[in-house]
Symmetry: C2
Subunit: 466 residues, 2 copies
């Protein structure tokens, strides 16, 4: 009871907040679009000024391409580099082409090196060149160096500005160094201690430095559980480690184990967010879509999965076609057969989603895979029996045929057991052979449950009813 | 081409890493279970010592209940409070009951107040009391105070230890205060400045404090975009703000706007992670399941959704039943009809997933909802035409009937347009009336596409073919 109550409260909270979100943005948006319509630059700047770059980016994503263009041109030199960073990749390129070159140059110059890398890595060559050419030589070299690391690697994710000190320093020396530094990074949470060869030997939180006497050696304040990442390590591993070990920042080392950069938690959070998005979209067969995409792009993203589904649906139809005679003698079979397939598809999707998610969070491992498979089969069996009984009753009441009830009950048990097995087995196998389980499992699992569902139901009907 | 290549690389990376994950954990697990089997406590402690609490929690989740119990009892006093914090809620209670009271007391005493709150809030009363009674009076009062805030609120999420200073302080005074403090929080990233009434007026990053001369007033170093949360604000809003505005920590204020705690990014990341999990699980109708759940619990979680699906499947069957005569004259209809329904279900799920995700990330708002609905309908129309042509060809080749090809083509267009409309419209409406779109949309959307698919196909067939 307690749980249910609080659940309802929670939902109510969300609703209320999102209602606020709606009305706020509608009102602001109307005012902003009115300023754009009337070409009132002062009013536009006044309305946009209190907004965070992330909110301005959302705003640009939510208006149509025509308004977006007019707004950006009117906003002019106020356009901030961070807005570009926050923009959805789908319309980033479009916005870059709308910006006047001098505005673009100014906007990019404000960004940290890792943000520039994130900005340019997915752009077409000419848009990428347009941005890189606006950078000063040193920054340009830094960005190009980062781009030389593999995509989706720690090297692409890291920022190059690291606060480091020799391992023998005291708290006082560290503070004096930071006070004397010409420029410190915008966000940093540790001082990394290095040996004379630039190898990291640990790091100290800024809080510990601030809480300790000046004379204390930094070495005595090292954080336990210090971890580093290799430049070529995948960003997916980085995100996993940050999440699993509650890390806040960690140095990145090159092949000689020398510190070359640092990754902070906001970068890791971003990766985690993107991976979640990818999983949920891939499970539904949606690809890389975003709300800002146009009809043509969206159609292109969705057709492949619908194509796969068409093939599997035809496969299922071929199974049905084998039983045309049976169906023509018992039309009730045509009425009931989608139920068996649909229940199997749903049970399979349940098992599949749990498996895909558990693989993504690395909770499903060699250690427990057999136990989980056994569990899914037993769950399929139990649910199969429950719904077999229900359907047997429905079949008997509706069509007055106990035999038909028995057939659909048996087919239900078979299909739900197979659904459990396929739902867990297919993603595990795909993962082992190096295919993203979220990408391909859905098609395979529903094919299996459709084919088995129709075959079991119509096949048993052919044997028992005729 | 470039995109495809890198995609493959990315997949290969993941595979390699997860292979490593597998082998590591299998080997370690075998050694650990062997130590448990032989009752070799020293060996067990030696094997567990290098593991992070989060990894030990994963390990406990992955072994079966029998091994889990033996392992915990053998591990004894080494059992760390953090392991409890990291444990999946599904088996936390079980583990608490296995732990000897004095081990449990010791384990909990090490935790921060917000971790204790997180630990006890979902426990049964007796398990909660068992933990609270081990705390010292002051800690117990703090935890009970936090528990008095609503579930899923900022007040539950925050830690109560805040590093604060009066607004007139200089950098030097801040440093002296922190050096003199008896105990500083384990993780903190800002000093919060308050006025004499404890109202927050801004905060300064530790990095800025370390980089500035002692004489500089802290007021000159305030971070832009300072935000606070109210104790009763929902944790979902908190997580959204941290993600949207790249925040690292923020104070929490009570009804009198006084600082009562602070939320840090790791807490927000946790909430975000849980919300993702909830979305993906609810979309598949899986409820609150975890891999560690037993068969009985899993069956209980999944039956409701399968039950809903049964009702909707029967609804679709009732539609088919209206056309029994038509089917008995044209059995080919029974063969082809699942294709129309299946394509509609998939197209609907695609639109639905995009909509649910966009609502969760607050990208779908009043500002763009009509444009997105129009887009989904057009996408449905375009995909409908593509697959209508394909199916017309299949229908003609397979059954040699141009009329049948025309019927399935027309039904396909109708169903895919309806799928687009239902896929976006249903979650938007549910969200407006305060129901989580992820929870309920799937059932509604597939019902619509099944019913419309069968009705359009069989209805048109009845008119045109007979």
């Amino acid at each position: 009871m307690v749980e249910e109550d609080t659940q309802v409260e929670h939902e109510a909270d969300i609703e209320e907040d999102e209602e606020d979100g709606y009305s706020l943005s509608s009102k602001q948006l109307t005012a902003i679009l009115y300023a754009v319509d009337t070409g009132d630059r002062d009013k536009l700047v006044e309305l946009m000024e209190p907004l965070h770059a992330a909110d301005i980016a959302d705003l640009l994503e939510q208006v149509n391409a025509f308004d977006r263009r007019r707004l950006i041109l009117l906003y002019g030199a106020e356009f901030d580099g961070e807005i570009l960073s926050e923009l959805d990749e789908g319309i980033r390129e479009e916005v870059i082409h709308v910006l006047r070159p001098e505005v673009l140059a100014e906007a990019v110059r404000e960004l940290d090196s890792d943000d520039v890398v994130d900005l340019v890595e997915d752009l077409e060559d000419d848009a990428q060149e347009a941005i890189l050419s606006t950078l000063e030589d040193a920054d340009r070299v830094a960005v190009e160096q980062s781009l030389s690391y593999p995509e989706f690697s720690a090297g692409r994710l890291m920022q190059r500005e690291v606060v480091m000190g020799p391992e023998h320093w005291t708290v006082g020396q560290a503070i004096d160094f930071m006070r004397g530094a010409e420029e410190l990074p915008e966000d940093f949470y540790h001082m990394v201690l290095i040996d004379p060869k630039m190898h990291p030997i640990g790091h100290v939180t800024l809080g510990k430095i601030l809480g300790a006497p000046r004379s204390q050696p930094l070495k005595e304040l090292l954080e336990p559980g210090f971890r580093t990442f290799h430049v070529e390590e995948s960003e997916s591993d980085v995100a996993y480690a940050f999440n699993q070990y509650h890390m806040i920042s960690a140095p990145v080392v090159d092949e000689d184990e020398r510190v070359v950069g640092v990754i902070t938690i906001d970068d890791a959070m971003n990766v985690l967010d993107e991976e979640h998005e990818e999983d949920i979209m891939r499970l539904a067969g949606v690809g890389e879509g975003s709300l800002a995409d146009r009809v043509y792009e969206t159609v292109k993203q969705r057709i492949p999965w619908l194509g796969v589904n068409l093939v599997t649906a035809i496969l299922a139809s071929l199974v049905i076609a084998q039983f045309e005679d049976t169906i023509s003698q018992f039309v009730a079979l045509a009425v009931l057969m989608p139920i068996v397939a649909s229940m199997g598809g749903n049970a399979g999707t349940q098992a599949l989603t749990v498996a895909v998610r558990a693989i993504a969070t690395r909770d499903l491992t060699g250690a427990n895979v057999w136990r989980v498979i056994r569990r899914e089969v037993l769950v399929g069996l139990a649910n199969g029996i429950v719904f077999a009984i229900l359907m047997a009753i429905v079949g008997m009441v509706w069509f007055g045929s106990p035999a038909l009830g028995g057939v659909i009950a048996a087919a239900m048990v078979i299909n739900l057991v197979v659904a459990g097995l396929a739902g867990i087995g297919i993603p595990v196998v795909l993962e082992r052979i190096g295919v993203d389980p979220a990408l391909a499992s859905g098609a395979f699992v529903t094919t299996v449950t459709d084919v088995v569902g129709f075959f079991a139901f119509l096949g048993l009907a052919g044997i028992i009813l005729l």
